[in-house]
C-alpha cells in the first residue's frame, strides 16, 4: 500500500537539493494530505494540499499569500529536470513529447515548456518552465462499494463498465482498484480471479518503471505500457487472451473503434472517461454512438464532492439508476 508520507519521500530525491530542504520542513499534517508539488519558473513554489493550492516559504510554511513565498529559480528547474530524466533527456523522448513521465513509486511529473514542432507535429518540449509532481496514492478497497454493480455474478465476469468523472476525482484510482480486485479474485463474493490486460497509454494506471508496475494490480495482470489504446486493446486480445481489458481515458475515434471490435469477443471492458454528467458524456462525439448502442452495461459517475472518489451514481445500459 502506498502512503502519502512515503510518496513525498519518494519524490524528494528528484527535486533540486534546495527545494528538498524546503519540502523536508513540511509538517507531518501537511505531508499527510499533500497531493501535488508545483514548480514554476520565477514564480512561487506551491503545493496542493487538501484540494487547495498554497505557496511555500523558506521555512516550509504554507500560505495562501504570494508575499514571502519561495521563488523557484531557473537552476532549480534545470536540476529537477535533470534528476527526473536521470540526466538523459534522450532516454525519455516520448515522455517529453507527451509532457509527463512516471517516477518510481508511480508518482507522475507533468511539465510544460517550449514546444518544438516537426512537420506540424509536436516533437518534444524544451526549456521546461513548469513541473507538477503528482503524488500517487493507492486506496485499496476504494472500489469495494462498486463491486455488486460491476460484477455479473451469474456469468462470473464484470460488466462492460465506463467510469465517468472530471479530472482529479479518482477515476484512475477506482479503475486500478477494480483491476486489483479482479486480478486477485473476490472470495467473499465467490468471484474467481480473472486475467486482466491493461493498456496503460499514459503510464498512470500501472505506472510501470523499468517494466515493473509500481502499483499493486494483483498477480494476473499483463500491462502494455505507453501503448496507444486502440492498438493496445487489440494487441492484448490477440496475444494475451485476457478475460478483462482495462484502459484509462478513452475518447478518440480509434479507441471507440477498438471497443466496437472487442465487445463481441467475450472480453469485458472497463474504461474511464473525462466528463461530469450524462450531458457532457453524450456531447463527446465518438462516445455518443457507444452509449446509444448500449455497449457499456454500467456507468459509474464520480466527483470530488466528499473528496476524490465520491461515487455519485451508478447506471445501467438503459440509463436506469442503480445508485443515486
Amino acid at each position: 500500500m502506498l502512503q502519502l508520507s512515503r510518496g513525498l519521500s519518494e519524490i524528494l530525491p528528484f527535486l533540486a537539493p534546495s527545494l528538498r530542504d524546503i519540502l523536508g520542513r513540511l509538517s507531518p499534517t501537511v505531508v499527510d494530505g499533500l497531493e501535488e508539488v508545483r514548480l514554476r519558473l520565477s514564480r512561487p513554489l506551491s503545493v496542493r494540499w487538501r484540494q487547495n493550492e498554497f505557496f511555500l516559504d523558506m521555512k516550509g510554511e504554507l500560505s495562501p499569500l504570494i508575499s514571502g513565498a519561495y521563488i523557484v529559480s531557473r537552476e532549480e528547474i534545470q536540476k529537477t529536470v535533470q534528476l527526473i530524466s536521470q540526466g538523459s533527456i534522450y532516454a525519455f523522448e516520448e515522455e517529453f513529447r507527451q509532457g509527463f513521465l512516471t517516477l518510481p513509486g508511480g508518482h507522475r511529473v507533468g511539465f510544460t515548456g517550449r514546444a518544438v514542432l516537426e512537420g506540424g507535429q509536436l516533437k518534444t518540449l524544451r526549456d521546461i518552465s513548469s513541473l507538477n509532481f503528482r503524488i500517487a496514492r493507492a486506496v485499496p478497497g476504494a472500489s469495494r462499494p462498486l463491486l455488486p454493480y460491476v460484477l455479473d455474478l451469474r456469468n462470473l465476469s464484470p460488466y462492460h463498465t465506463l467510469i465517468v468523472s472530471p479530472p482529479c476525482a479518482g477515476k484512475t484510482t477506482m479503475l486500478r482498484d477494480l483491476v486489483r480486485f479482479l486480478s486477485y479474485g473476490i472470495p467473499e463474493l465467490h468471484f474467481p480471479a480473472l486475467t486482466v490486460g491493461v493498456v496503460d497509454e499514459r503510464c498512470e494506471l500501472a505506472a510501470c518503471c523499468d517494466g515493473v508496475p509500481q502499483h499493486d494490480l494483483g498477480p494476473r495482470v499483463d500491462v502494455l505500457d505507453h501503448c496507444p489504446k486502440d492498438v493496445g486493446m487489440l494487441m492484448l486480445l490477440r496475444s494475451m487472451a485476457p478475460q478483462v481489458i482495462a484502459t484509462d481515458e478513452i475518447g478518440c475515434a480509434g479507441d471507440v473503434t477498438a471497443i466496437w471490435e472487442m465487445v463481441n469477443t467475450g472480453v469485458s471492458i472497463i474504461a474511464t472517461v473525462h466528463a461530469s454528467s450524462w450531458e457532457q458524456l453524450e456531447e463527446r462525439p465518438h462516445l455518443k454512438e457507444l452509449i446509444k448502442s448500449k455497449v457499456f452495461q454500467r456507468y459509474i459517475f464520480l466527483s470530488r464532492r466528499k473528496g476524490p472518489g465520491t461515487i455519485e451514481s451508478v447506471w445501467n445500459e438503459h440509463r436506469e439508476p442503480l445508485v443515486c
Binding site: S85, Q86, G87, I89, Y90, A91, T124
Partner: protein, 173 residues
C-alpha cells in the same frame, strides 16, 4: 673508486628511468585517446539504439576497464545517482577533474572532454549522436598528433635519459 662507481650507476639509472617515464607518457596518451574513442563508440550505440539512461551506460563503460579512462565514466555514473543533485555536466566535470591528474592526457584533450560533458545527456538522440561524433573526430585528430609525438619522442626520451646520465658521469669523472 667503489663509491664513484655506485654514484655513476645511480646517476645513469635515475636519469635513464626518468627518460623512460617521460617516453611512456607519450605512449600512454595515445592509448588513452584510443580508449576514449572506444568508450564513446559504446556510449553512442547505447544512446542511439537502446536509449539507455546515462547512469547505467556510464557505469557499464566504467566496468569494462580498470584504467583512468574507465574511471572517468564510472565516477560520472556514480555522481549522477548519489542523490547529491548534480547535473550531468557537473557530474562529468567532477569525475574528469578528479581523474585527469592520473591520466596522460593534456590540456587540449581536457578541453575536448569538458566541452563534450557540457552537452552530454541534455538533448535528443540525434543531438547526442552529433555531440559524440564531433568529440570522436576531435579525439581522432589528437590521437594522430599524439602518435606523431610518440614516434618522435619515445626513442629520444628512452635513450636520452641514459645518454644524459652517461654524459654527466663522464664529465664528473
Amino acid at each position: 673508486m667503489m663509491w664513484k662507481m655506485i654514484g655513476a650507476l645511480f646517476v645513469i639509472s635515475s636519469l635513464g628511468m626518468a627518460g623512460i617515464k617521460v617516453a611512456s607518457y607519450f605512449t600512454r596518451r595515445t592509448a588513452e585517446l584510443r580508449l576514449l574513442q572506444e568508450a564513446l563508440q559504446v556510449l553512442d550505440t547505447e544512446i542511439v539504439y537502446a536509449a539507455t539512461p546515462l547512469p547505467a551506460v556510464l557505469k557499464k563503460i566504467g566496468q569494462t576497464g580498470g584504467g583512468a579512462i574507465a574511471q572517468i565514466f564510472r565516477k560520472a555514473g556514480e555522481y549522477l545517482t548519489d542523490s547529491q543533485g548534480l547535473t550531468t555536466a557537473e557530474a562529468w566535470k567532477k569525475a574528469l577533474n578528479e581523474t585527469f591528474p592520473s591520466t596522460a592526457l593534456n590540456q587540449d584533450d581536457y578541453a575536448i572532454l569538458s566541452a563534450f560533458g557540457d552537452l552530454l545527456g541534455g538533448s535528443d538522440r540525434y543531438e547526442q549522436h552529433k555531440n559524440i561524433s564531433l568529440t570522436t573526430l576531435h579525439l581522432q585528430k589528437e590521437e594522430e598528433k599524439a602518435r606523431r609525438d610518440q614516434e618522435k619522442n619515445v626513442r629520444l626520451w628512452q635513450y636520452g635519459g641514459f645518454l644524459l646520465g652517461i654524459s654527466i658521469v663522464l664529465l664528473l669523472l
